[in-house]
């Protein structure tokens, strides 16, 4: 098998907590704490978990929008070479920027309202050296067609478009430089169901056509179920489960994953989803609990769980879970 397109190893990102006039550092928010996963070319990996668990921070480290505290972000170049993006300087990163692009959650905030679609979508092309305006117009027209928008719209401003159309514009912009890896941070969370279905179908279609690799950040598990090949579940900065989508949904191996799935309201009044609600709140990544981070909220916790931190163990081939009892647990979905 060829090497994965992206291989994240031991990634850490700590934000300092500064107090007082002198800005003395009194502690750290361990936003991402020893996270490892890889994504094969053409694959979609879903990254899920509650608000504040470190999804966006992980994505931003991979995109090198921020500097990781520790760890490697190994990237396989189009020439087949493996490079580590984590320690690179901006100059060293420059040739890879256009190969890794991002789609944002907020289709309203991610576009410049004072620029036409031509300028919004064409900007990454200009930045990457496509100086000829005619050439850029052709490419923007092609991109707009690709995402299902009419090329004549090129000279309009973003405010003339609906939420779903703006998200298409954001996708066109992300695809401008023909990226290999697309990091999508909650790309459909702000959209209505009918619009969401259109955008999800578009992403699936584009992926098949352009052989794209997706890192798909989401909190909606039904969307993840629909679009991802594998799922990584994060809790307080750590991975607690990583497995093929079907395996996670048919037999989750971590109590947190099971609780997360039970919390999704079923769109069928005949199915009651009231039982097994996860109690309590997410602990702060600045002062996580002892032992297993999940133990204060876990209904299956034993005395050992508050003492000893479980390791991420491979329960069945390719199915990893960070729970002392992962091998024994039989967590039916509902």
């Amino acid at each position: 098998m060829t090497a994965p397109l992206i291989d994240v190893r031991g990634l850490r990102k700590f934000f300092p907590i500064a107090k007082g006039m002198l800005g003395r550092i009194t502690g750290h928010v361990r936003a991402v704490d020893d996270v490892s996963f890889s994504v094969q070319e053409g694959e979609t990996l879903g990254l899920v978990g509650e608000s504040g668990c470190g999804k966006t921070t992980t994505a931003r480290c991979i995109l090198r929008a921020i500097d990781p505290t520790d760890g490697q972000v190994l990237y396989r170049t189009s020439g087949g070479k493996i490079v580590d993006l984590a320690p690179m300087s901006p100059a060293e990163l420059a040739p890879f920027r256009k190969e890794i692009q991002m789609i944002f959650q907020d289709p309203f905030g991610s576009l410049n309202p004072r620029m036409t679609l031509f300028d919004n979508v064409g900007e990454p092309l200009l930045v990457n050296g496509m100086r000829n305006r005619r050439e850029r117009m052709d490419r923007v027209a092609e991109l707009l067609r690709l995402v299902g928008l009419r090329p004549e719209f090129m000279h309009r401003f973003p405010h003339a478009f609906s939420g779903g159309q703006r998200q298409r514009i954001g996708i066109a912009r992300a695809l401008a430089t023909s990226p290999r890896l697309v990091v999508a941070d909650e790309p459909v969370s702000a959209l209505d169901v009918s619009v969401q279905a259109q955008v999800l179908n578009l992403l699936l279609e584009l992926q098949a056509r352009l052989r794209l690799t997706f890192l798909f950040v989401a909190h909606d598990l039904s969307v993840v179920r629909h679009i991802c090949d594998r799922v990584a579940v994060m809790y307080v900065g750590r991975l607690v489960e990583l497995a093929p989508t079907d395996a996670v949904f048919s037999r989750p191996r971590h109590p947190y994953t099971a609780a997360l799935m039970r919390a999704v309201p079923v769109p069928d009044p005949r199915v009651s989803g009231a039982d097994g609600i996860l109690k309590g709140e997410v602990p702060s990544p600045a002062s996580p609990p002892s032992g297993c981070y999940f133990h204060p909220r876990c209904t299956l916790a034993q005395e050992r769980c508050q003492r000893e931190a479980p390791a991420l163990q491979e329960v069945t081939p390719g199915h990893f879970a960070r729970c002392h009892f992962a091998a024994e647990l039989d967590l039916a979905m509902r």
């Binding site: 909190h219 598990l221 039904s222 309201p265 079923v266 005949r270 996860l278």
Partner: protein
């Protein structure tokens, strides 16, 4: 569940429009529905279809350039019907009704609390305004409410500012505030949209429990069909300011009549879907509010369109049974007067 014969709230042919420089937005264009005591009515529809404006109209909270242009809003206070559309928005009667009889959990909880007063102080004020209670008693009631809505360390949290609370706690405080005067009707406008599924599940369970405990009727607004299925007894489906269909929750999900409801239900991904299969979609996009299509508002996107009918006349909301109605020419030729 026993259903009282008389609705607590009866809305008939409600119309609200916004007069803007570019033209008139008919945000609510002939909406009718009933809310019976102790019932949870779910209002579902996509962004901009008029859910919030409908509920603000019920509470007479429409500000210019918006105006209620027609319809009846009948609220039964102690068995006596009052037409809210005829009550002056700033009158004493309306102010007493808001909060004490009908409470609103607004769509932006951040904006609902003032940042300069503690959350508790604001709830205490509301209680003292509506009921003859001293400050000490009002505070005790507030602490008790905080416990009821599952806020731990209630005595301390009463003195917190809204910006010191997490999203989930703020939403719980909002619910405590809405329930502080024991309303008979609670209008919850997207109370869980901005929060995690886990917190959402906690808040939904809480609302169900409080609804039982206080016998409150709830109007629950959301665009999430999963939430509707789990919360509502009765559902109103809206599109472009009109009611497409209404009925008991089981019928809406298992025997939907309107092509829009059917299409909407098909387009939701579920935990059971197959990975990477294309989802059925509703073709086209929501029209711009200034460009309302003639005829049935859904006709440009409808797969079952009857040409010559649907693109010409507006279907009326036609009763199929005592609590079941649909506005679609596939089910009835009844049209709105031209």
């Amino acid at each position: 569940m026993t259903i009282d014969a008389e609705p607590l709230l009866r809305v008939r042919d409600l119309r609200v429009s916004f007069q803007l420089d570019e033209g008139t937005v008919r945000a609510v264009d002939g909406v009718s529905f009933d809310v019976f005591p102790r019932q949870v009515v779910g209002i579902v529809g996509e962004s901009g279809c008029g859910k919030s404006v409908t509920m603000r109209a019920v509470l007479q909270l429409i500000d210019p350039p918006g105006r209620i242009t027609g319809g009846e809003i009948t609220y039964r206070q102690n068995g006596r019907p009052i037409d809210l559309a005829r009550v002056s928005p700033r009158s004493r009667q309306m102010r007493d009704l808001r909060g004490a009889e009908v409470a609103l959990i607004p769509q932006e909880p951040m904006a609902a609390f003032s940042p300069v007063h503690t959350v508790g102080a604001q709830i205490i004020e509301a209680i003292m305004l509506h009921e003859r209670l001293g400050r000490g008693e009002a505070r005790a009631r507030t602490v008790e409410l905080f416990r009821d809505v599952g806020i731990s360390m209630a005595e301390q949290r009463v003195d917190a500012y809204s910006w010191q609370l997490s999203g989930g706690l703020r939403q719980r405080a909002m619910i405590a505030m809405a329930l502080s005067c024991r309303p008979r009707l609670l209008i919850a406008d997207e109370p869980t949209t901005a929060i995690d599924v886990t917190t959402q599940a906690q808040i939904l369970a809480l609302l169900r429990e409080l609804q039982q405990k206080y016998d409150t009727a709830i109007i629950f607004i959301t665009h999430d069909l999963g939430v509707i299925a789990q919360m509502a007894n009765y559902v109103v489906v809206m599109y472009l300011g009109r009611v497409m269909e209404e009925g008991p929750v089981d019928e809406i999900f298992h025997a939907p009549k309107h092509p829009y409801t059917r299409a909407l239900l098909r387009s939701i991904p579920s935990l059971q879907t197959e990975t990477r299969a294309a989802l059925p979609v509703i073709a086209g996009t929501l029209p711009h509010p200034f460009n309302r299509p003639p005829g049935c508002p859904f006709h440009p996107r409808c797969e079952d369109i009857r040409r010559g009918y649907c693109d010409v006349a507006v279907p009326a909301l036609h009763a199929l049974g005592p609590r079941r109605a649909v506005s679609c020419f596939l089910h009835s030729d009844a049209a709105e007067p031209a």
